[in-house]
Every structure is written in C-alpha cells, then in structure tokens.
Point group: C2
Chain length 351, copies 2
Amino acid sequence: MNRTIKLAVIPGDGIGPEVVAEGLKAMNAALRDSGVTVEETVFDLGADRWHRTGEVLPDDEFEQISTHDAILLGAVGDPSLPSGILERGLLLKLRFALDHYVNLRPSKYYRGVPTPLANPGDIDFVVVREGTEGLYAGNGGVVRQDTPHEIATEVSINTAYGVERVVRYAFGLATQRDNRLTLVHKHNVLVNAGHLWRRTVERVGQEFPDVTTDYLHVDAATIFLVTDPARFDVIVTDNLFGDILTDEAGAITGGIGLAASGNVNPDGAFPSMFEPVHGSAPDIAGQQKADPIATISSVALMLEHLGLVDEAKKIRVAVDADMEERADAAEAGTPLVRTTSEIGDAVVARI
Amino acid sequence: MNRTIKLAVIPGDGIGPEVVAEGLKAMNAALRDSGVTVEETVFDLGADRWHRTGEVLPDDEFEQISTHDAILLGAVGDPSLPSGILERGLLLKLRFALDHYVNLRPSKYYRGVPTPLANPGDIDFVVVREGTEGLYAGNGGVVRQDTPHEIATEVSINTAYGVERVVRYAFGLATQRDNRLTLVHKHNVLVNAGHLWRRTVERVGQEFPDVTTDYLHVDAATIFLVTDPARFDVIVTDNLFGDILTDEAGAITGGIGLAASGNVNPDGAFPSMFEPVHGSAPDIAGQQKADPIATISSVALMLEHLGLVDEAKKIRVAVDADMEERADAAEAGTPLVRTTSEIGDAVVARI
Ligand SMILES: CC(C)[C@H](C(=O)O)[C@@H](O)C(=O)O
Ligand SMILES: CC(C)[C@H](C(=O)O)[C@@H](O)C(=O)O
C-alpha cells in the first residue's frame, strides 16, 4: 500500500518535546516497510509562543492543523501563564472545534509498576469520556466581579445528540472487549443531565443485547477505582467526571506517566488528536527524565485510528515487552534507570 | 450546668435506624452527669414513608425539625425509589433550607483498618465542603425531553457570599490544626467559578497569615489522595468536588463505614445536621452488620458543635480506644466479629 499521512505535531511545553520525539521515533519504526509515508508539520504552540508573541492559536494555524490527518500533542501549560489561557485557548479549542467527542483513555496495570494499591489486581479498562459538552463547553459567566455580590456560574450542557453518539461508541467498544459497560454520573443530584445520560444508555443498549450495563454515581466510582478497579471494562461518562476518573485511574496503575489518550472524532470529519494524559511537568523538563511510554502508546492509538492496525500492534507489543523487562529488572532488585530517549530506543529496537 | 437540647432524629432507611440507635446510646452515655438533657423527637422520613404516603418532607414537619437544636440522620435512600426524590426532596432540602454551608468531613486512618493502599501513612485531614451552592443548587433544566433534540443543563452557582463564608471557616479550622489549607477546584477549565474561589482564598488568607495555602486541580487531588494522602491538613472545595473527594477519602481510610460528617450552619441560625457519610446499604439492613462508628463519630461532631466539647471528647477517646482494640485483635490474628449493637455497647462501656 502506498499512503501518505499528514501529521500535525504540537510538541508544546515542558517535557512535551522530549516525549513527542520518542513517540515519533516509535511511529517511524512501526511504519518502516509499510508503504506509509508520514509528512510531519510541527506547530510551535504553547507557553513559549504565548510569551514571545501573545498568540495562543491563530486562526490560520488552526485552519492548517485541521487539514491534517491526525495530530500528535506532547503537553501544553506552564505556571508562568494565567490559568486557563492555553487550556481553553488551545487544548479545549482543538478538542471542541475538531469535534473530538470521544476522549479515549485506556488504563492498564503492568506487572511490577510501583502502584499505591496493595493489590492492584488485573486492571484493564477504558474510559470513554465525552469531549465536546458538559462543564467544558465554556458556558457561564461572572456578574459583579470583585464585589461582595459577585456571582459566577458554570453551565453543563448535555444534548441528546452529543450523549447518544458517545454512548453508542462506548457500546461498540464494549463489544470488542468484555461486553461490560458502566455509566458513571450523579443522577441523584444532577437530575437533568443524569437522566438524559441514563435514558440514553438504556435506549442505545437495546441495540447491543450482548453488553451488560451498570451504573455508578461518580462518588462511588472513585471508591471502586481504589477498592476493586479490576471490575471495570468500559466506563462511559461525561467530560468532567471523565477528567477526574482518568487521573485517579492513572494513579492506581502507577502514575499518569504511562497513560495514553486519544481525542477522537470517530466519523473522520476532522483530524483526531493523540496525547499523553500527563501534563508538561516543567520541573523535570529538558532533563530526559520523563517516561515516553504514555506518548508512544498514544501513537499506537493514533495508528489504530488511522486504520494501521498491524503497525499499532507492533508498538503495543514492544511496549508490553519493555514493561515486562522493567518488571523483571525491578523484581531482580536492579531496576532499570534510563533516559527518555533510552526508553524510546529500547522500544524502537523491539519494533 | 442545666441545659436541654432538642434533638431531631431521622433514622431513615436501610441500616439508618440501627446505626442511629448506637449513636444515641453513645450520646446518652457521654452526657450522663453533665446536666444536659436531650429531648429527642423522631421523624419518620425516608423511603418507607414515601411508599406509604407519597410524602417526602411535608412543610409542617420541616418547620418542626427547624425548631430543634440539632439533627441526627442515619441514612436515606432505597433503590425502589426514583433516583433524586429523597436526595433532592429530603437530604439536600434540609442542607439548603437550613443553610448548612459547611459540610465537615474528617478523614483519619486508624491503625489496622483494612485499606486498599499499600502504605496509607498518617492520614488525618478534614474536607470542608461547601454545602449550599455549586451544582447542587438545583438549577438547570430540560428542553425537548425524549426527543433527538433534547438539551439538559446543570448550572453551578457560586457567589462571593457563599464562597467567602466557607473559605473563612476553613481557614479558622486550619488554625486549630496544622495551619495548612488546600483549595481544590478546576480553575483552568471552570474559569468563572474557579477564579472566584481562588481570589477568595487569596483575599481571606491575608487575615490568616499563619496558614499556608496551596491549590490543586480536582483531578490532581484524586491522584494525591491515593499516592500521598498524608500531605493534607484542611481541604476546602465546592459541593460536587467535596462529594467526590470525601468518598475517595473514605475508601483509602478503610471504607466509608467509619466516616463521620456534619452539615453545619456555624452561625447557629439553623440547626445543624450530623450524619454518617455512608448510605442506607439496603443489602445488609436489619442484620446488625453495619459499623456504627461513623454515626457515633458524627454524634461527637454534633456535641462539639453544640459546645459540649468535653462530652464530645469522651466519645472520641472511646472510639479511638475501640479502634485500637480492633487493630490489636486483627494483628493477633483474631479479628473482632461484633454486631452493630455490640460495637455500640463496647464504645459505651469505654465512655
Ligand atoms: C489540561 C486540562 C484542560 C485537561 C482537562 O481537564 O481535560 C487535562 O486535565 C486532561 O485531562 O486532559
Ligand atoms: C446522597 C447524595 C445526595 C449525597 C451527596 O451527593 O451529597 C451523598 O453522596 C453525600 O455525600 O452525602
């Protein structure tokens, strides 16, 4: 097959450029001999750019990005910026404008990884987080700011259209896994949105008779993630609850340094964006201390999304083998100490 | 001192009546020889009442409850009811109408308690959860219900008035503890509400120069609760984030069977309400299997709130001693197996 993929690369801030470099190395290794050529365009966006030019995401750059087939993002954000600027202006802007309604976040426990849990068990689930609605929609406002009469609101927007498409995706994913879907919400308090989600799961579920569904309030879900995380297969939830649960999931599986994610538009109407769940970690930036596995696994999600299933599998197998090697070394009392690029090289060598 | 306390008791559903019985036993033991008399009025509210009469909380009963000095609640809720009926109509109704703006939820790890964490460490913090605003305000609605064009909204309401009073309370509490206050929010996304909370903590903090403050996004807070819960002293946060964090806190300290809470109106304008964090657990109701410690500790919070500090301390000391006995027995390989009322009796014997 001869195919060219146009990839927009946003290395971003902090450890972003370091982990993205390894992600690209793994991608190129997996695509060798595949007939697939990747044309990379690097976009200089993030904190540095903002400090230099005051720009977050100019319209023409957004337009250019959206002509690509996929986006690989490292991490954006720096404490030197006012909070919200890059999050709302860049990251969420891309997720919303490119209609990334499925935020896909797999959680897997690899043997030997240091975890705060006494018995992590066999953790292997995927959170399907809605990505274009909820409290992330940017609705709300402030009246009488900085007075004793200030009122600040945040509005969670939930539509039948938006909920149904992500719920249908989650059911489909469950059929490719263990056929179990858990809806997480808080319908005893958020009765409007909660009941829309619940009714939608019930209705769409009729099209997926093999999938067993259950429901947890978000507070109970945070308990089970700690006491019995192996119980989950696919979790579907809204934007904010998904944000919270996936960070907790990262913690129990040994740190968000390993957690991959995809901001996916399954319809292919817009390019999907793949990024590690972790942030820019400015404290260790430029020191080759970051673990690139989260980014490398995000690249695997990306290749899969692009239909390059065998190539994605090569990366997954290599990552699994690397994690096995780490576990063996740790068990032998000689834990591996490697730089970011050494880890990338080790994965590439296995591909 | 001669004093009469009018106590409204809402045993509620499931295990509620069983644990409340033990809470009252402990209360009466602690008040013996104190000169304080408690006049209890029991209110038959909850799922049974709703099934029998269709009533949740009639106005006249609400009026009666509000003439009391304090409220002790077991648990309400049953899967046989439509979700939200008792939560919004009874529990949240009381919290809101009685202006319980401080939802006080201490978390403490007792040695020997089974915890999912490999190294729980010295967990001892208090979450001060705002109780009268946020997404719990019941704002929002549904348009075009049950059509493909349905829109459901939930509005988080945050006022300078509401945020400031709970933040000030949290700072005060920190000065009685380890002088450390952590604000948890998500101000990089919920910019309106988040910045109000942040500015308020900064401003009020100037009145409390001894208190060190820091900030965590809610997603990061769920990570630290698992990886380093001993880092926290006082956490202040909004209604929904507080709901989520306190359930996770219950999980890491060995189950919400031990977690006490107070819905407090610190101004004393309305009676405050004390309840275990756990729910009605219908699966084990009536079997004397529930641990009454959460309710007994809630009674201690109540006595403290009523100014009966020495009497509250008697309960706390007795609970601590009981927890020590459990730990010793578990370590000796002969874990205590006791009914709900046997645990209550053991605590009473120590008071
Ligand atoms: C940086 C922030 C806006 C983002 C989010 O809240 O979605 C992050 O926490 C994530 O989970 O990708
Ligand atoms: C039952 C429910 C309404 C309640 C809440 O969400 O506040 C409970 O979870 C709690 O934490 O007290």
